[in-house]
């Protein structure tokens, strides 16, 4: 996930009186990534060392002269190039103190900008669109300069891009409200003119940014209505026809930024990499109308990845060099380091829920990312259970109440009546319109329960959860309420059916479950399937221990032959190790926790709250599960909800991460840790073996693809 780090100030600014411009004309990279040349809008050029936030040198032109283009650094000759008063090109070195004594040359036409790439030769772009290499221009400074642009056409923005070895100047112009783009190739010179598609009338792009990737130039531009478009220009196939004809430039909408009220004025968007865009001067979607934000958006998932409020006015200027954003705001020029790692949806949203068979067979009407991403049109259909309730209990509903009536009823009526009416309502209602009303029902039920400690209708809530139309975000207090009321059955249902339980709540449940006394836990009635699964797991163990007298295939806990002897020694303690460290019902509840989706970064801080006894117990239980699973190619019993082996391993790792120091210090934990270490070793070995197999299988696939050769083909081979 992209992140903005703590910024620092490079220098102060002297903005205009009316704060319309920042006072900075441009920032250019100097000899390396750590040096920049900052040109202010009037007379001075300053060289900064970024990491030290310190100016290394400064040059000023005489009073009355004006710098009209940002100074650039020519790394071939170690010289700076700037233009004063539109026509005078100035070139100086770092150790020149007085700018007036440095080289200058007057050219015959107004200069728009001097561009220079690192290691490239400076290129002079004239206001009328002509382009000259600096050297060839200085050879004859008074050479006539042709007019490329039409009358009333004016440059709005320009940049230079290096594509492989080719330099390209990109110019955008405006002519009578229309916008054009020139792609000028240097050496050999050729130009192609494109016409930008019109946005709403009267809107002209606020900012442009161009990047080169995959043999194409990507142009990114932002309109005041918050639309960020991307156009892709091919570098190849250019220059066949001299750009008389303005080709239409296809564009694609990359982002629609929230603009708040009104339109953007001083804003800028810049591509950071293929998936991330930095935007400044656009309101943060969750922070009201203020536009003083620097945000990083992910264009693939259209998500806001990082945001930072900038103090003071934003001028809509933005530069970025070597993972740092340079942004003038208020009266300072700030540098904000950022990071844009390759993002995936999983990293953006937390760990994906494990897709297991049972998940596909139970229809989940709460929209899940899985469905959206994989385009499964999960046609909501009623689960078998609700259908059954509908048919069997149809007779009971006496009156046909509407949602509103039921809601009213819930606020006042006693538990039994509510239960009856809700049941009736559920059997009557069509599935499609069930979802909003179930949410409302649950919400009102929970809020009444919270307000009135005496009121609690467990069965009604359970029924509502059973419809699978509820999720945690619809009714955020439900799980905690159930915990408070010690309604573990409801907790189990929630954990089972809610796809979006926050990690904090998961952890709270875990803590509660672990700390239930076993005696209490056994009294709780739980979902029969999961209980049965656990029963199987535990009793099978006992049966085996009794049955296989003398021969014990279970004695080698890990498929590790070397440790076998060791295991035999431990055999005396093995039975106690293999017995379940927690009670049956408690184990069932913990299993439910293991199966909830989570994101480890969010879970970890909450896990740290567990006490060391709890951690020990939990680890022992996980160890027990792991042993059970790995012992005899444990048949995942069909039809039962059960945690997968990888879920168990993940939890072991999480717990160890969260409590490692504590566990190392605890003497009782030593054996446990050693065991777990062995598990990890065996897992690592398994994975590495799988990796090998994967490699060979991939080779096989490659070989297959090779086979189809026709009667004739042309191939390239390389001999070494």
């Amino acid at each position: 996930m992209a992140a903005l780090y703590e910024g620092y100030t490079l220098c102060g600014l002297v903005p205009d009186q009316n704060l319309s411009s920042s006072g900075i004309q441009g920032i250019e990279e100097e000899r390396d990534r750590d040096h920049v040349v900052v040109t202010d809008s009037t007379r001075s050029v300053t060289l900064y060392k970024v990491s030290d936030q310190k100016p290394l040198g400064s040059w000023t032109v005489k009073q009355g002269q004006k710098l009209t283009c940002p100074a650039v650094f020519n790394s071939q000759t170690n010289e700076y190039v700037a233009v004063t008063d539109n026509k005078v090109i100035r070139i100086w070195k770092e150790d020149d103190i007085l700018l007036d004594k440095a080289f200058k040359a007057t050219v015959s036409s107004d200069v728009w900008k001097v561009h220079c790439t690192h290691g490239g030769e400076p290129v002079v772009l004239f206001q009328r669109g002509a382009v000259r290499l600096l050297d060839s221009l200085l050879a004859a400074p008074q050479q006539p300069i042709e007019e490329v642009l039409a009358q009333e056409e004016a440059i709005r923005w320009s940049t230079i891009i290096v594509a492989e070895t080719q330099q390209f100047i990109i110019i955008t112009t405006e002519q009578k409200g229309e916008h054009f783009l020139y792609l000028q190739r240097l050496n050999p010179n050729s130009v192609q003119r494109y016409r930008l598609e019109r946005e709403e009338p009267g809107l002209s792009p606020l900012s442009f940014s161009a990047t080169y990737r995959d043999k194409h130039i990507c142009l990114l531009y932002l309109y005041p209505n918050g639309h960020v478009y991307q156009s892709v220009l091919s570098v190849r196939g250019l220059g066949t026809e001299e750009g008389v004809q303005a080709l239409p430039l296809p564009r694609s909408l990359l982002l629609g930024l929230p603009v708040g009220d009104g339109q953007l004025e001083a804003a800028s968007a810049m591509a950071l990499d293929e998936a991330h865009v930095a935007v400044v001067g656009v309101p943060h979607p969750s922070a009201g109308g203020g536009k003083d934000f620097l945000c990083i958006w992910n264009t693939n998932f259209q998500t806001l990845q990082a945001g930072k409020e900038m103090a003071g006015k934003i001028y809509g200027q933005l530069w970025s060099y070597s993972n740092k954003v340079f942004i003038p705001h208020g009266k300072t020029l700030s540098i904000i380091p950022f990071e844009c790692p390759k993002s995936s949806l999983a990293s953006a949203l937390g760990k994906l829920k494990h897709t297991k068979t049972e998940e596909s067979k139970t229809p989940n009407s709460v929209p899940s990312w899985n469905n959206i991403l994989h385009g499964e049109k999960a046609q909501p259909s009623k689960s078998a259970e609700t259908r059954r309730t509908r048919t069997t209990r149809k007779s009971q509903s006496t009156t046909n109440l509407t949602t509103d009536q039921v809601l009213e009823l819930i606020k006042t009526a006693p538990v039994e009546e509510i239960q009856k009416e809700v049941e009736g309502f559920l059997t009557r209602a069509e599935f499609q319109d069930l979802q909003p009303s179930v949410g409302q029902l649950a919400l009102t039920l929970v809020s009444r329960s919270l307000a009135d400690p005496a009121f609690y209708s467990s069965s009604t809530l359970a029924q509502l959860v059973h419809t699978r139309c509820l999720c945690h975000s619809v009714c955020p207090d439900l799980v905690l309420l159930a915990l408070e009321k010690k309604d573990y059955f409801l907790c189990q249902l929630c954990l089972q059916f809610f796809p979006d339980i926050p990690e904090a709540v998961t952890c709270a449940c875990l803590k509660a479950f672990i700390s239930i006394p076993d005696v209490d836990a056994e009294k709780v009635s739980l979902e029969p399937d999961s209980v049965k699964f656990m029963e199987n797991l535990i009793t099978r163990d006992r049966a085996e221990a009794g049955l296989q007298n003398g021969f014990s295939p279970t004695s080698s806990v890990v498929n590790d032959r070397q440790t076998r002897a060791e295991d035999v020694k431990k055999k005396a303690s093995a039975p106690s190790q293999l017995s379940c460290p927690v009670g049956l019902h408690k184990a069932v509840l913990i299993n439910e926790i293991l199966q909830t989706p989570y994101s480890d970064t969010f879970l970890l801080p909450h896990l740290k709250d567990l006490s060391s006894q709890h951690v020990m117990l939990f680890l022992q239980y996980l160890q027990f599960l792991y042993l059970k699973y790995s012992q005899d190619a444990f048949p995942q019993m069909e039809g039962f909800r059960s945690p997968s082996l990888s879920q168990i391993m993940d939890w072991v790792c999480l717990l160890l991460d969260a409590h490692f120091t504590v566990l190392v210090m605890t003497p009782e934990a030593k054996g446990l840790l050693l065991n777990l270490h062995r598990f990890v070793k065996s897992q690592v070995r398994l994975v590495s073996e799988l990796g090998k197999i994967e490699g060979s299988l991939q080779e096989l696939r490659k070989m297959k693809a090779k086979e189809s050769i026709g009667q004739y083909s042309i191939e390239i081979i390389e001999l070494f």
């Binding site: 009667q711 004739y712 083909s713 042309i714 191939e715 390239i716 081979i717 001999l719």
Partner: protein, 679 residues
């Protein structure tokens, strides 16, 4: 080394002909193989199984049996004729009609004085073998039913003849049948189908061994006429049966329709017992179709059949294990180039037995094919099959020859293609073995009989005889099987099957020198365009470079011989059949066999004896800087298999003509049905 653009051609649908029969001459170690199209090939088992001679076939000449008599080779076929071959000039020397209808079998007595043929009309005819010809002597007593197989007793006194439902033993002197051995028919439903004794063998202890169409191999006592033992080896036919007659007659092999070869040995069934008997010992399964031809050498079983491949399977008790000698060999392609390539014009000439096909290669830019190759024309030959063909480098001339005639065509590529047959050819161009154009296409060289080379000038107007090159007047010599002219037009190299290589100076039109004779037959020769060195590759995989100017082996060749070639190189089992050079880099020699092509870089060191010969993968994985240290002179590419030709065009793109064995297999008729598992 760099990248090469490769035209990967797979549209040469060359289809080898099925092997009909074979005969092995244990004195000269030569194997004669007759194919279904009438062609006879001679393999030299002393020289790495090199196919040194090919006698082209003829329509209608269905050779059914072959027989060596000393150095002479006789064949007989269903056209009813007995043919003796001229093995020097590679053509039938004469044919004699036996007047007995189709001949099924031919066999000579051990002294080599008499030839017995079995005819359709039921007679066994005895011919006396005279010098230069054969003469009919007499008929043995005639019986009803055709004679399918024959075998002389080593004493030449008796002849065993396999017929339908029986085997008869004739007294060779009187011509009377002395014994009649009745062969059982197959069991079951095919009881009414008569059984054909496809093959019969007669041992010196008067044991007769027969293989028949009921799938039996039977051992008889010829003195008493009793059946000793029956082995049912297949559900189908036992088509061929051969005794290792040159040795102790203790081993017999039988080939079946299922593609298996089964060995029987005369051994004692238990250790320390002296009474020996015939025991089925080994089964070889190297064929997919009928095994109709077998030969038993001292150390190996040689088999061939419908699936067109010749398989040499060494008997592991006779050879040293894990050596080259003990490796199974499959000879699928001829040991000569059937593809001509016009380097300048980008044309390919495919030689089939009965036709030639001319193709134009495609054009491309990178991987993208701009123009696909197209078929230019086809030259159909009549009754006689084509023995050699040549295409000039410019593509403007095409010549081919049969046993009896030479044709020359002028091909012009203006907007349309016009092909004109040159009608008046010099009378010297009549029977040639090899054709070759000079690099400027102005001369045609033809190796003719009497070990001479005829030089003919070809031009738009006429075709004129210039000269006959002879190295020794008057002496009768082996024919030239390889011809090669140098690029500058000064030299012509010829090689013959006596392993001699002669160099002629074409400016003076006389013999320049002779390369020292090496004891293995050259499989291909080429003259380097820049250095004028002659590169020759021999059947034992040795490579020599001979300087024509200095008349001695070059330093490079001496160094190569001093260091020796890697055993992996020497153990390859297909010969190098073509050499080309890289016009841009004179150090590069490109040569190929069936399973790889190799670029020899003369500027690089030879591989150490313990080095990896196929090191392309290693080099690929190394960074560029380390490649130099690891690379050696042999750059071998195995990404193309079953190569018929590899050539370098003038634009430096490689032409690779592949003929995948699978494609050949898929064109064969379906094999006999075998029950496999639950089918």
């Amino acid at each position: 080394m760099g990248e090469f653009k490769v035209h990967r051609v797979r549209f040469f649908d060359y289809m080898p002909s099925a092997i009909r029969t074979m005969a092995f001459n244990s004195q000269t170690e030569r194997l004669a193989v007759a194919r279904a199209d009438g062609a006879v090939e001679i393999f030299n088992f002393n020289d790495n199984f090199f196919q040194e001679k090919v006698i082209p076939g003829q329509d209608g000449r269905a050779t059914e049996a072959l027989c060596w008599v000393g150095h002479r080779l006789f064949s007989a076929g269903l056209n009813g004729e007995i043919t003796e071959y001229d093995l020097e000039n590679l053509r039938p020397q004469y044919t004699v009609d036996a007047y007995g209808g189709p001949i099924w079998t031919i066999s000579s007595n051990s002294q080599g004085t008499q030839l017995a043929v079995g005819c359709e009309d039921g007679t066994v005819k005895i011919f006396a073998i005279l010098e230069e010809r054969i003469q009919f002597q007499r008929n043995l007593n005639r019986h009803k039913g055709r004679i399918i197989s024959l075998c002389w007793h080593p004493s030449s006194a008796q002849i065993a003849a396999g017929m339908t439902d029986m085997i008869k033993i004739f007294d060779a002197e009187t011509g009377h049948a002395t014994r009649r051995l009745l062969v059982d028919r197959a069991m079951g439903a095919s009881k009414n189908k008569e059984v054909v004794v496809w093959s019969v063998g007669y041992l010196s202890d008067h044991t007769i061994i027969s293989g028949d169409s009921a799938g039996k191999v039977q051992i008889w006592n010829g003195l008493t006429g009793t059946l000793v033992r029956t082995y049912l080896v297949t559900k189908w036919d036992v088509l061929s049966l051969v005794i290792n007659a040159s040795q102790d007659e203790s081993s017999v092999i039988a080939g079946t329709s299922e593609g298996t070869v089964i060995q029987f040995q005369f051994i004692s069934s238990t250790v320390d017992q002296h009474d020996k008997e015939w025991v089925r010992t080994r089964t070889f399964r190297n064929h997919s179709h009928d095994v109709s031809a077998l030969a038993h050498t001292d150390t190996a079983v040689v088999s061939g059949g419908m699936d067109t491949q010749l398989v040499v399977r060494p008997l592991l008790d006779k050879v040293e294990k894990n050596t080259q000698e003990s490796a199974l060999r499959k000879i699928a392609f001829p040991h000569r180039s059937l593809v001509g390539c016009a380097k300048k014009a980008g044309l390919l000439l495919f030689q089939f037995p009965d036709r030639l096909e001319l193709w134009k290669l495609g054009e491309s830019e990178g991987h993208v094919c701009l123009m696909y190759p197209y078929f230019v024309c086809r030259f159909l030959q009549g009754e006689d099959h084509i023995c050699c063909s040549a295409l000039s480098a410019c593509g403007g001339w095409l010549a081919y020859s049969t046993v009896s005639s030479v044709r020359l065509y002028r091909i012009q590529y203006n907007n349309t293609i016009s092909i004109n047959k040159v009608s008046k050819l010099p009378k010297e161009l009549r029977s040639v073995h090899q054709l070759c154009f000079s690099s400027d296409s102005s001369k045609l060289f033809a190796s003719s009989c009497q070990s001479s080379v005829i030089v003919v000038a070809v031009s738009q107007q006429e075709c004129r005889y210039l000269h006959t090159l002879k190295h020794k007047t008057g002496e009768w010599k082996a024919r030239m099987h390889l011809l090669c002219a140098s690029d500058d037009g000064k030299w012509l190299a010829t090689a013959n099957t006596d392993c001699e290589i002669h160099i002629y100076n074409l400016h003076k039109m006389k013999l320049h020198c002779m390369v020292p004779v090496y004891n293995s037959c050259p499989t291909t020769i080429a003259i380097h365009p820049v250095t004028n060195n002659l590169i020759s590759v021999h059947a034992d995989q040795q490579i020599f470079e001979f300087s024509l100017v200095q008349k001695e082996y070059t330093q490079w060749s001496r160094r190569l011989q001093a260091q020796g070639l890697l055993s992996l190189w020497l153990e390859r089992d297909t010969p190098i059949t073509h050499i080309t050079f890289n016009p841009k880099n004179p150090d590069h020699i490109i040569l190929h066999d069936t399973y790889m092509f190799c670029i020899i870089d003369q500027s690089l060191p030879f591989p150490e004896l313990n080095a990896v010969l196929w090191n392309q993968m290693t080099l690929k994985s190394l960074p560029v800087s380390q490649r130099i240290g690891q690379s050696h002179a042999f750059k071998i590419c195995k990404s193309f298999q079953h190569l018929m030709c590899v050539s370098l065009l003038e634009d430096l793109s490689l032409v690779v003509v592949e003929r995948p064995l699978l494609d050949i297999m898929s064109q064969l008729p379906a094999p006999v049905r075998q029950k496999k598992f639950a089918t």
